[in-house]
Subunit: 341 residues, 2 copies
Amino acid sequence: MRAVVACSLGVHMFMRPANLRLPRAAMVFRSAATSVAPPRSPHIAGFMRRVEACNNGLELASRAKPFVVPGVGELGVVLPEAAAVLAEFPTVFRVDDCAVELIAGGDSVEARSNAVAEVLRQLRRDGRVPMLAGWRGEGWPVKASFDSPAELVMERAAAPLFGVAGFGCHINGLVTCDGAASAGSRPSHLWVARRAATKQTWPGKLDHVVAGGLAHGERPWDNVLKECDEEASVPRALAERTRPTGMIEYFGRDETGWGTKRDVILCYDLHLPPDFVPVARDGEVESFALWEMRDVIKSLVAESDEWKPNVALVIIDMLVRHGFVAPEEAGYIDLVRSLRR
Amino acid sequence: MRAVVACSLGVHMFMRPANLRLPRAAMVFRSAATSVAPPRSPHIAGFMRRVEACNNGLELASRAKPFVVPGVGELGVVLPEAAAVLAEFPTVFRVDDCAVELIAGGDSVEARSNAVAEVLRQLRRDGRVPMLAGWRGEGWPVKASFDSPAELVMERAAAPLFGVAGFGCHINGLVTCDGAASAGSRPSHLWVARRAATKQTWPGKLDHVVAGGLAHGERPWDNVLKECDEEASVPRALAERTRPTGMIEYFGRDETGWGTKRDVILCYDLHLPPDFVPVARDGEVESFALWEMRDVIKSLVAESDEWKPNVALVIIDMLVRHGFVAPEEAGYIDLVRSLRR
């Protein structure tokens, strides 16, 4: 079964062309390519398909141009098709082989934002950039890191066009249907929402009980409390039991093909009492259903397109944290690692 | 406060010399260097010091040579000082500018292991390689990945000399001292062990209630059950409540300076009843103490050297998963990301 590789290091190196462009510091961490590892367990393989459906941007990154704000740095990436369109606005963007640079607005966040907004309004009118059909009218902060101030604010629907980082909060609505449950008991059920058919993004798909993107100026905890109320009518006292549990991240293709998503999702668990039933209030959710955890797992492992893609990753992270996946399953470490780039 | 950078992209690129050697695919993910982010919160800064104390190998990796087994691939890294010593055994290792290659033993795991063992026995006798003073007499599997078969087996104490991946299981012994605790209640206490003064590694340091390296042929779950019994006298029925929760990993300097540690630690939580008291059995632990979680946090944030370094990372991961750290604390995402390389 083992691939036969000549013993000379030269030949050995030749077998790993993917390494050739990497400096040694990166190279030495790569697993040996020719050693035989067992195939991933069916569960892990299914989960990895979900991760890879979101985290598929590596090839895109090699084609994309950095989106640069002078004096700040790289804040995103722009695909060649999008760069060609932005190049038609030479008073706002300087586009060359190396980068897409925002040259309008100087040091002013407001002036930068206004200059970009005017371009986006024109592009939306022209109808040439498909993702702008999903215009939300929400300001999206463009930041160098989560903790940094916004360097400009742009329409949320345009964020993938510039490949800027996006941040959101997702809440696993967990239930432990076991009279003898105590601290540390594993949840048995997950509340699952079906998105309204009228949602601009991912209509009709399965979602968390509560989840939302972080708009400009919004703090995660405020977002959690607000969305608990608006999306699922979770009373404030119950919503305050929500707990942060970490984050997942991915970099992948935007569904329109015009951009990329570089998202960090803050993950939360909310253990709900068995008699609580969420109620949709803001029209974003069609219905809620309480799923047994084994059905959640079965559905994620299956090759269905029922789930909003990034929701699957947050649930997989939850399944890992609560011990629904075991290190004895081949591929476990790759899976856990893959949830953070 | 903002650093002034000329607007031309050429100058901008020049400001980031660290990026210059990276291919674009890696480059585009880097945060902007010149943007102003707030300083990390004191908690996060303290936790990051713990992570960086373990994960400090990047500079070493640039100096190290890959440890190559022909027909298998790179299985580790060897520092220049160690490579020079191994070069004195030219029938076993071929050492050149590019790599340290195991040339003895052919395709046989046993023959490879015997050849390396003979070299290590000589080096131990000579007393030239300090880390071999900690000889354990335990076989350590050298694998291309966690799921792969062992390509050779070597003395555990020598693993850092070859910078091969190490795997272990650490258990957070959690207690929820709250009569009204239910599923999802946050643990209030952590059992902390003080390592015996006679331990070969990290004598007298603070440790998990149960933790162990994975020896050759040992499965994680078997290790968990065995160590629960041997290290803390946890009855089998209680030990079986232990749950996997993910993993942390780091790459750093070995404490002797002769090698590197590339460890993956499988993390587990065990929620213990408030009336359970662990009892040391195998002489590896001097004493156990039940710490309030706030004291654990305070101790980890402080610049003390009381903790076995990698134990701190597993506890920090637990604190993140149970919501003892909030995304509102500056540096949260960097911290969470840093726990997996």
